[in-house]
């Protein structure tokens, strides 16, 4: 099922809450912007993952928790945590 912008933000918020072990309600939505990403893993490939090198439209989601900003990237197919503690995750 295709992911829309709202469900992408919701997925990202829940994922961050789990990773930080905080309440999802304590995570603030800083920005959600349409953007083009360099590949089909949205420029956030996991280890050992290969992706199509096609410019892919999606959303750049920035969330704030515990005084820090965290970035997620999403499109209709996926939501990814970008550079969370130095690594990317597909959620």
């Amino acid at each position: 099922m295709a992911i829309d912008k709202n469900s992408a933000v919701e997925n990202a918020r829940n994922d961050l809450a789990r990773r930080l072990n905080v309440n999802a309600a304590d995570i603030k939505e800083k920005s959600v912007e349409d953007d083009d990403f360099p590949d089909m893993a949205l420029g956030a490939a996991e280890d050992g993952e290969m992706s199509g090198q096609m410019i892919t439209g999606g959303w750049r989601i920035k969330l704030e928790a515990q005084g820090k900003t965290y970035e997620y990237r999403a499109d209709k197919n996926q939501v990814r945590a970008f550079n969370f503690k130095g690594k990317n995750y597909r959620i």
């Binding site: 360099p38 590949d39 089909m40 893993a41 420029g43 490939a45 280890d47 050992g48 993952e49 290969m50 992706s51 199509g52 090198q53 096609m54 410019i55 892919t56 197919n77 996926q78 597909r90």
Partner: protein, 467 residues
Amino acid sequence: MNRNNFFIHLALALVLVLVAAFAGQLSRWRKQWRSHMGPIPATEKKRATTSEEIALTETRSFGRPEILVKFKSGVSQETIERLTAQRHDRVEDRIENVDGLDAIDDLDNADAATVVSEYQQLPEVEYAEPNFEIELDAAEPLVPVLPHDPQFTDQWALSNSGQRGGKQGADISATLAWATTTGSDKVVVAVLDSGVDYTHEDLVENMWVRPASMAPYHDNELGTIDDENGFNAIDTASDPMDENGHGTHCAGIIGAEGENDIGIAGVNWKVKIMPLKFMNAGGFGTTKDAIEAINYVIDRKKAGVNVRIISASWGSTQRSRALEDAIRKAYENDILFVAAAGNSTVNNDRNPHFPSSYNVPNVVSVAALDRNDQLAKFSNWGAKSVAIAAPGVDILSTWLGNAYEEKSGTSMATPVVSGVAALILAEHPRMSVDELKKKLLASTDPIVALKGKTVTGGRINAAKAVE
């Protein structure tokens, strides 16, 4: 030497110098008189007047004998030298292996046609002919071939007429290449991607199908797999139907059927696309599945399928020795591996992108150009690590459900180069992978924006590639 003898010798030397100087001046006068006075009487030469004669004159160059004369059998060398001396000519060379054949130089620099005519009239001569300057045949100018596929006018990569603000001629000269070849269904290109919608109406005729005479694929670990329509490394029990669209797009660039009055034309109008699926509906996949698919291609090549190219419009920044080894194995099996340089606007010489940056002889790394011959704003580059560039922005091609979409990326530039490689093989089927890569890299148009950015500094030119 006494004083008197000294003066006698000095006088003699002065006389000799004066004689030599006078003889030289005489020769110069003779030449000037010839050149200023035109034709000279009696046995003298005339200038070329007919077009044929003028043509002969124009091909003549100083410093080489102007005619070749075959004297009849039995004519002595003494006689030959006498005849040439009488005409103020000289024997420049004797062709030892052909009796009586001499290369003769006219010391007056008359035109070859006249000299030939003179010698032909001699009873001692069997034949005489000009020493033609051998030149490459002037190639017939190619006439562009335009397909009637209705959306061809939107395919700026193949024929850029300046549509939508583009630069006229900033294309791969496909229409000129098609005057030589439009491809061959004997050439199989493996599209290692998200699969291919092999039912697309603009692709269906150009899809590879396992021949009935060939047994289904068998792998010791994977078991027997029905690969009638290609190979699915994600789920070997399924066929390689595309669920994303990316692989179908790449396949259309290589080989959407041309001149079928439907949609677009591929770089090849005729070819066989072998779908290999290792990326899922999201457009990403694992290194292990990519390796499985490459292994499948090699096995099918060994089984007799003429699969000579793997088109790889994917990658990452993570190096995998296992993937590199699989690509090297493909090289050892005479298979070219064309790979996307990546879309992160970085220099691959410093920040390598894989598989395009593997130092394996069959890898061709491809950067993307826009419709104005500029490096695409997203494209990676590399003076040492990126071989060549091809159009990769707003590229129209096939999509899921008999649709067509415009997409951008080095993903789109890569199948352009794969397609040109297939055209080359259509024309030169026995070409080795080394020769094929060399030919590709020698078939570019230099682009200012690519200077110092790629190995070749040029955009692929299909017409040059199939010459």
